[in-house]
Amino acid sequence: MDFSELSHQSEIRDSLDKILVEQCTPEKLKEFDVAFKHDESLLSLLASNGYLGLGVNEEHGGSGENLYDLGILFERLGFHAAPLSLVGCLVDVAQTIQKFSENKAHLNLIGAIVGGEIHTSAILEPLNQEPESPMTRAEINGDQLIISGSKYLSEMASKAKSILISVNSDEGVLLVLVDSNALEISELSTTANSPSFKVDLDAVSIDRSAIIHSRGKGLEALRYLLQINMVMRSYLALGVTEKMTALIASYTSEREQFGRVIGSFQAVSHRAADCFIDLECLRLVNQQAAVNLNTNLDCENDALVSKIWAGNACHRISYSAQHLHGGMGVDKDYVLWRYCLLAKECELINGSASQNIDRLGLNLTANQ
């Protein structure tokens, strides 16, 4: 048992913070509140400093396959509310291909992603509660797949060169990498103003070489994708809630009422302490899931537990932060509001707490 970070991991955190503090100033973030929320220059900076290669094998130009390292990246992106949506690219596409593909063309994509090229995924479907069985279908016709269906909440789809799509077929679940030019992409307007898209496929025909995994491994690959997606979103949630808790501590230590700082009232400090407890729990369940997924490609219960805690912590800490800040919490000239929107996004995408409790309960009682 050893929870401590290796020295290179603490260094990643510190040096990332240096860059992100400079790049994600309130003024800069304000610009992206109204613009397309994607900071291209920040992405280049992260790429040129090697941060997009976290969790990626050295042979693809990364710094080693360790999901905990990748978790640090998302935690810090969340903490600084960075205008980048990279889960689809770095997690869904790069990590899934890294673990499941033997195709040179697909594997080469990882190196391109490490260099800053955008690729993304389109996995979720409106009202489909079970992303493991996509409603989007591929008819198999010789060497051709003909795909029809609708995906949504696809990050950065308009900027992505290719999009990894989950489909059902007579061969079971497949993960297919499709050139984005073949797809109909329309922008969605979402709560946190994240670059999010609907992707429609109307009998799109592609060669079966677009399938990224070997035959029969589609469901396993999709399950893996969904699990690491949950864990990395939970790391984003960790950064977001960590920042909100830090804001609570600093604001209530300065704001005075009745002649003393409000943080010295037990009612206030105890609500802050409860946020700290939620935060610690989230940090630890994330760590467990990331470390266990390093050695075992299927850790669904660990991933679910981390996403359940992420959902609950996001909700509770967000409203505690708003409440303890009073009007400041909702004032768009202060920083908190942005985190509250991000928290809701982290809470709901790829499984809410209640939905995942349901799933976990099914898993736990599957032995009878």
């Binding site: 673990k99 010295s264 802050a272 302490a273 610690e280 630890l284 537990v305 409790i357």
Partner: protein, 404 residues
């Protein structure tokens, strides 16, 4: 596709390492042997919930002889000097069996006496604790000194060759079958509260010692104990005069962690899960088929996972010789409040059946739940009340101002 063992892994490990897993397995096997049918029957008797019966005493001596007492003690004091992680595994395994192991005697009072006691105390008391022959009651709280322990008023007045002790203690658990009380008394009346306290070994067979039982909601007996002109020799003083406070607080973090060990609640979860999966409710439907039952089980599981990780992390921090005050308090608050929630969720699964107390076929496990929920509140105020723990978290963890 890459296969598992080719994946590069950091040194971080969020599970027991092979050596720790082996220790756990050994301990499990050992304690299954200790928990004989006779001992189990004795422990089901409300008078012996917390030990003190003949089978309990026999088991303690066996453990002493087999070297399972004094795990935290230094080797030169006759202990095993196990690491904090190994101690945690020990506590976990023992608690899972339900054996009321007197941890405060063997792992807190014992090593303090072995290290700071007089020659008599080291030879006579520490040795017998290691052999499983002595039990201590803890004499800290008083009618007017609970959370503010340092305000305690029990007096020990210096006389020619010893001390004269007078006062009253509250919630002296185990006093009804303990051999000695580990007593905190005021020895300097001028000094600031916590600077005038000393620790004494007080024999319960002294004529000046008496007690009245306090029967609690959870049917756990505790006691009010009275000290009426008790004379003890100088050799019963442990540590330096007026330096008792540092002994009281020296092991608080380890003690708090032992209170919220994840073992028992995880054991309970597993047993309720098994019961829900095998209890038919109608036709071929089982309790565990109900969606809300699954939800409750999942809530408990997600909570236990967090508790396990908090405890493990806290233990590994101690292992590296550091101390993190905020995280020790996180463990105490989260654990004690989670227990209450977990008992509720698990009792809901068994529903009205959880109200049954007798060990009929229907409620072998429920009887345990029925008792657990009645004892659950003790931990939120005992062992350092959660309000004070939250104060510590806000101050040490969030660097917020001191509250009042």
């Amino acid at each position: 596709m890459r296969i598992q063992d080719e994946i590069l892994v950091g040194e971080m490990l969020v599970q027991l390492n092979p050596k720790q897993a082996k220790l756990k397995a050994e301990l499990q096997e050992y304690f299954e042997g200790v928990m004989t049918t006779e001992l189990k029957a004795e422990l089901n008797n409300p008078n012996h919930f917390e030990g003190g019966g003949p089978e309990f005493k026999k088991a303690m001596c066996t453990m002493g002889a087999d070297g399972w007492i004094g795990l935290s003690w230094k080797k030169e004091l006759g202990g095993k000097e196990l690491s904090p992680m190994e101690q945690y595994i020990f506590v976990e395994t023992v608690m899972r069996t339900g054996f009321p192991f007197p941890f405060l005697t063997t792992e807190s009072v014992g090593p303090m006496i072995a290290e700071h006691g007089s020659d008599w105390a080291k030879e006579e008391i520490a040795t017998k604790i290691l052999r499983g022959e002595l039990i201590f009651g803890i004499g800290y709280s008083e009618p007017n000194s609970g959370t503010d322990l340092a305000s305690l008023q029990t007096k020990a007045i210096k006389e020619a060759d010893g001390y004269l002790i007078n006062g009253q203690k509250m919630w002296t658990s185990l006093a009804n079958f303990s051999d000695y009380i580990w007593l905190a008394a005021r020895t300097d009346f001028e000094a600031k509260n916590h600077k005038g306290i000393s620790m004494f070994i007080v024999p319960t067979d002294d004529l000046g010692f008496s007690m009245t039982a306090i029967n609690t909601l959870g049917d756990v007996r505790t006691n009010a104990t009275f000290y009426d002109n008790i004379r003890v020799p100088d050799s019963n003083l442990v540590g330096e005069l007026n330096q008792g406070w540092s002994l009281i607080t020296s092991q608080l973090n380890l003690e708090r962690l032992a209170l919220v060990n994840h073992g028992p609640v995880e054991e309970l979860y597993r047993n309720v899960l098994k019961l829900a999966e095998t209890t038919r409710i109608s036709g071929d439907q089982y309790l565990a088929d109900l969606s809300w039952v699954k939800h409750n089980l999942a809530q408990v599981y997600a909570g236990v996972e967090a508790l396990k990780l908090i405890c493990w992390k806290q233990t590994s921090i101690m292992q590296s010789g550091q101390l993190n005050m905020a995280e020790a308090s996180v463990a105490k608050v989260y654990g004690s409040e989670f227990f209450i929630e977990a008992y509720r969720l698990l009792m809901e699964i068994m529903g009205e059946l959880s109200l049954l107390k007798n060990d009929s076929e229907l409620c072998v496990l429920n009887a345990k739940l029925e008792r657990m929920y009645r004892t659950a509140s003790i931990l939120t105020f005992g062992g350092g009340t959660n309000e004070v723990q939250r104060d510590i978290i806000a101050m040490a963890g969030l660097l917020m101002p001191r509250t009042r």
